[in-house]
């Protein structure tokens, strides 16, 4: 294998190091850029997720108000709830429109069927609303007895389909950041609490409107719902603590849970116990009941808003941190490139080139060509020392040359004298004049 020159070896080493550092830095930058893209998508997904929540909450309110009206025995109760029904319909429509519009930007294949199911149920709601408006104006005994169950079934099915769509949608973003996933789960638990407290509101509203006792099946339904809600309260507390939500949402959480448990205590003895009212009229009317339960719902809404805000802040913090990482990685990458280029320039310009020049000059010198080693100015490094040595060497060589020339001259002069001497040469030692040496003779 041919031996590489020092210059090529150094070039190879520097080039390899540069490539290595560049690839490492580029890999980190690319990884961070991909993460940044995913986090931005997660931010948008969290917004869409919140709109799901909003839509199901608004639907629940419309469901419950309409049911109470369908069961109301008198026109006064119905009139009291009419405005609330109108407002809840408008709110539900707006929330659903926003959710559907938001979903259009996502083209995950597994959401196609889930979206279709939501849209199928959505088409039924507008057909039932006019029926409800018509039925509530009739006397109770003239109303369609199947309509409340149909209405409740369709809205609940729509809410379940929306929840399934939400689960399918969120599953695409659970691998981005574990904290945000916990935040989304927290909101899912809030949504479940809102749904089941809404069902309780609906059933209790119906019982108050009819002034009837709950059947064993209805008590079972209420107890099942309560079990789910209270389990979800406990799980949501754990998630809030684990995910770091607690400090930000603590006061709102406390308010919402206090409100829920206060309402629970109010309802316990009247609606969770068979025949609790003993035939008497329920102490509050359906309008006061809806106001009380709406206030509890508002507390949940405030908690939800607080958690949304905290998630948004956290995600923005993630984006900022990732952007900072990318900036740092890119700076390291550029710095590494610059250092490698500088190293390359230094090595070539201040080491290789001087050595090559010195080697060339020495070669010229060995061929007898005139060469001058100039003394380096200001360089105190190894090349400077070498240049100094070569300069001194050249000075010595010059001195030797001059001395050699002088010797040759003296020799020639001496030969000339010897050649032209007639009798010989007398060597006289000035200190011992008695010892006179003659060529061919030796004196005693």
């Amino acid at each position: 294998m041919p031996q590489l020159s020092l210059r090529r070896t150094l070039l190879l080493i520097v080039g390899t190091l540069t490539l290595f550092i560049t690839l490492l830095a580029a890999k980190d930058v690319y990884g961070d850029w991909q993460r940044l893209t995913r986090i931005r998508a997660l931010r948008d997904a969290a917004v869409s997720s919140d709109q799901f929540f909003d839509a199901t909450q608004k639907l629940a309110v419309e469901r419950d108000v309409a049911l109470s009206m369908l069961y109301a025995p008198d026109s006064e109760t119905i009139d009291e709830l009419r405005i609330r029904l109108k407002e809840s319909r408008q709110a539900a429509d707006a929330a659903l429109r926003a959710t559907v519009a938001e979903l259009k930007q996502y083209t995950f294949p597994d959401l196609v069927e889930l979206r279709r199911q939501v849209e199928t149920h959505l088409l039924v709601i507008p057909t039932l609303r006019p029926e409800i408006d018509h039925e509530v104006d009739l006397l109770p005994e003239q109303r369609n007895r199947n309509l409340p169950d149909r209405w409740s079934g369709e809205v609940t099915a729509l809410m379940s389909a929306t929840e399934n769509l939400w689960i399918g949608f969120v599953s695409h973003f659970t691998d981005v950041d574990p904290i945000v996933t916990q935040h989304l789960l927290f909101k899912h638990l809030l949504r479940t609490i809102t749904d089941y407290t809404g069902r309780e509101r609906s059933l209790v509203g119906r019982l108050i409107a009819e002034n009837s006792d709950p059947t064993p099946e209805q008590i079972g339904q209420l107890l099942r719902g309560r079990g789910i809600v209270e389990t979800d309260w406990q799980m949501s507390r754990m998630l809030a603590d684990q995910s770091g939500l607690s400090p930000a949402i603590g006061p709102r959480y406390s308010d919402a849970s206090s409100h829920y448990f206060t309402m629970r205590d109010m309802l316990q003895n009247l609606f969770y116990v068979p025949d609790a009212r003993h035939g008497a009229t329920y102490p509050i009317g359906v309008d006061l009941w809806f106001e009380l339960s709406t206030q509890a719902s508002d507390s949940l809404g405030a908690l939800r808003e607080s958690s949304i805000s905290e998630t948004r802040n956290y995600v923005e913090g993630l984006i900022t941190a990732t952007q900072r990482e990318i900036t740092i990685q890119a700076s390291i990458f550029l710095l590494a490139l610059m250092l490698c280029a500088y190293s390359f320039t230094i090595i070539i310009g201040r080491v290789i080139r001087p050595i090559n020049n010195m080697a060339g000059a020495l070669l010229q010198a060995t061929r007898g060509e005139p060469v001058t080693f100039l003394p380096p100015t200001g360089r105190k490094d190894e090349i400077g020392i070498l240049a100094n040595v070569l300069h001194a060497f050249q000075q010595n060589v010059e001195h030797i040359k001059r001395t050699s020339v002088q010797l040759v001259t003296s020799q020639e002069h001496l030969r000339a004298v010897v050649d032209t001497a007639v009798d010989g040469v007398i060597l006289v030692e000035t200190r011992k004049p008695e010892s006179i040496a003659l060529p061919g003779f030796r004196l005693a």
């Binding site: 206090s258 102490p283 006061l288």
Partner: protein, 109 residues
């Protein structure tokens, strides 16, 4: 109710028997048994931002702020908005929609 929170404030429930024991509170519920003491209580609370609530008849018209009463066999709410305003308090519109407002009786009646 004790220990629960409303608007991020913890609820503390205390029982008092005399006006001097009232101290600082946000809401004072006056039991029907305390009806004879209401005028004195009212004087003690004058100018203070304390919401007064009771369930004895005539509470609202005699200067109390919120009275729970029976309307068609159900709990009804009577609100004396003047008394509320005088205590530098405010009742939300959504509660006013559910309640009936009353005007206080003229002094001397």
């Amino acid at each position: 109710m004790a220990g629960r929170t409303v608007n991020e404030q913890k609820i503390e429930v205390r029982s008092v028997t005399t006006a001097a024991d009232i101290g600082v509170c946000s809401l004072l519920f006056i039991h029907a048994d305390q009806k004879p003491n209401w005028p004195e209580l009212q004087r003690t609370l004058a100018g203070k931002s304390v919401l007064t609530v009771s369930d004895f008849e005539g509470f609202a018209v005699s200067g109390g702020m919120i009275e729970f009463t029976q309307l068609d066999s159900r709990i009804g709410v009577l609100i004396n908005t003047e008394a509320v305003t005088a205590a530098h308090l405010e009742v939300q519109d959504r509660l006013l929609k559910l309640a009936r407002t009353v005007t206080p009786a003229a002094p001397g009646r």
